[in-house]
Amino acid sequence: MSITDLLKEGFQRYGDSPTVKHYTDWGVFKDVFEKLANGELGLERKILVEASGGVRIEGRGDISLYEQNSNLSKYHMILSSEAIVAGFHGGKGFINVKPVAEAGVNIGNLIARIDSPGTLVLKVVNNVSNGLLLLGLNINVADNVDASIVVDVEEAPGSASSINFRVGTGRGSISNLVFLVSPGRMMRMEGSIKPGDDSLVLARLTGVLNEDSRIDAVVDGLIDGLNATLNLYSTLYLSKHSTGSVRGRGTISSKASDARLVYGFESILEEEAVAYMQPFLEVNSNRVLEARHYARNYLVTVDKLFYLATRGLSFSEAKNTVLTGLLTSLMQGELRSYCYGEIKRRMRSLPED
């Protein structure tokens, strides 16, 4: 099997619908992998990880991203499954992840173990201009821990990446998880979230897309046990000519009871932007406390802007206020402050109407 076949097969589990040619721009990945196969681009089997605050690097491990009996061959698991293990021991922690080289295929995996309450910021900066960043991420929250985690991925406009993740939380834990993303020309994000018994996971995907950028995010959720809650909310702001696809399957298995599952997807489109939303819900039993999903696009209407303008905000200030408010809604405390600041900065760099 050629490396490009390998690549496609791994992606096709969430294949494209017959009417839409592609949610992900396969061309970007195919291009890079062909160059890699031809020796035109190098392969770096590591990433730079810096930790500070309550985080300590604790050695190496093997990352586990897929179900044991899954027959999906994921190219990057074949290229490297070795992971850096970081332990977060409470308070405030910061992990900085960067690719080693600015060109070529950079591949690395990180396992973050959160064993005490606190706030963890995991910042990924992707500036690979001729190549790809392939990142595997495992986030584990221990039993009875209250954790707030931000995975902040910021990409340079010409960069591309594929991020695969798995989030598992322990019994009795409360996790506030935010994926804050500014994709480059193509970001593929695929992963799953599995809350433990008696636990709560509030997961938020917030994306600020620059012109011509693109994201295809696939986030599955599985509730399999007792009294677990998973709320996944996604809000993408799509500038001109950008494309945002958010798909995911939330599943309540027949074994689960007292489950709560909410999948809510929202897109804000500028001119020539395109949004795809597929919040799938599979409920396999009636022992469910709440199961709902929604998808909508959000219009920043003249009336809303006018209202704020009568209070003294110019239309562009009003729009920024509305958008930043939307993108940070449902976030709390320190997570919200961090995200608010970051989003403000990224929105400011967007060209004004």
């Binding site: 006018f306 704020l308 303008a309």
Partner: protein, 253 residues
């Protein structure tokens, strides 16, 4: 002084305001009444500069400066304010965020989301005074607010921002006796502080507590009658039926 001169306004090519003129000075209360569809709200929107309301001719002058072609927010920063009849819902933005941004702007700060010292306390106090539940302050603006709560939220904003020329569009409709009382109290306070109030309504209950200096009656886009309290009494007694005749008379002018 806020002056509106011979204003003609169209929306979707339909004329909604047809040569309206009036003036309001510091400390004055002007009441604009009229049946539904007479153009009262359109007049308010046009004075505030809503992009879909086209001023065909005439002008809006604030403190001697012509603002007719200036954008809405500049009019607001010049001291104008509109308390909406039906405030729009804005998910993601709450009262604190909004007021913080506005006050920062007035102070000339470039970062309008910067923390404003003492704002939170002030907002909470005003909420108590106006009878607005504290939990609504954190809620997304107007989302899930009852009609009365939306009106109170508008007044709260005016109290914090302290504008010079305040247009209130039907502030008393949907409020109970206490609510009407607090709107009236606010009007009295604002007038005493030197602000001007333009009260738009079709059956003013607030007037039981505050006296207007001028009363205008609007019908089909025009001011067809001008007077004082006696006009309000007439409307309370007879409604708006007599406007038909007056309307035809003044159509010629």
């Amino acid at each position: 002084m806020l002056e509106v001169k011979d204003l003609v306004v169209e929306v979707s090519e339909r004329r909604v305001v047809n040569r309206v003129s009036f003036k309001v000075d510091a400390g004055e209360l002007a009441v604009i009444m009229g049946p539904n569809g007479s153009g009262k709200s359109s007049l308010a929107y046009a004075i505030m500069g809503h992009p879909q309301y086209k001023v065909v001719s005439g002008s809006v002058i604030i403190d001697g400066v012509d603002y007719t072609s200036r954008p809405t927010h500049e009019r607001a920063l010049a001291g104008l304010f509109l308390g909406f009849q039906n405030p729009v819902e804005i998910p993601g933005v709450n009262l604190y965020m909004l007021l913080r941004s506005v006050l920062n702007k007035k102070m000339g700060r470039t970062d309008i989301s910067e923390y404003v010292e003492g704002l939170e306390k002030r907002v909470r106090n005003e909420a108590i005074l106006i009878g607005l539940k504290e939990e609504l302050l954190e809620r997304d603006l107007n989302m899930g607010f009852s009609g009365g709560e939306k009106k109170r939220s508008e007044i709260l904003q005016a109290r914090v921002i302290r504008p010079k020329y305040i247009i209130l569009d039907e502030p008393d409709s949907g409020l109970d006796v206490d609510g009407v009382r607090s709107v009236a109290d606010y009007i009295k306070e604002a007038l005493l502080a030197g602000s001007s109030i333009i009260l738009i309504t079709h059956y003013p209950r607030v007037v039981e507590y505050v006296s207007p200096s001028k009363v205008y009656v609007m019908y089909r886009g025009r001011f067809v009658a001008e007077g004082g309290l006696e006009l309000i009494d007439k409307i309370n007694r007879e409604g708006y039926r007599w406007l038909e005749a007056v309307g035809i008379e003044s159509a010629g002018t």
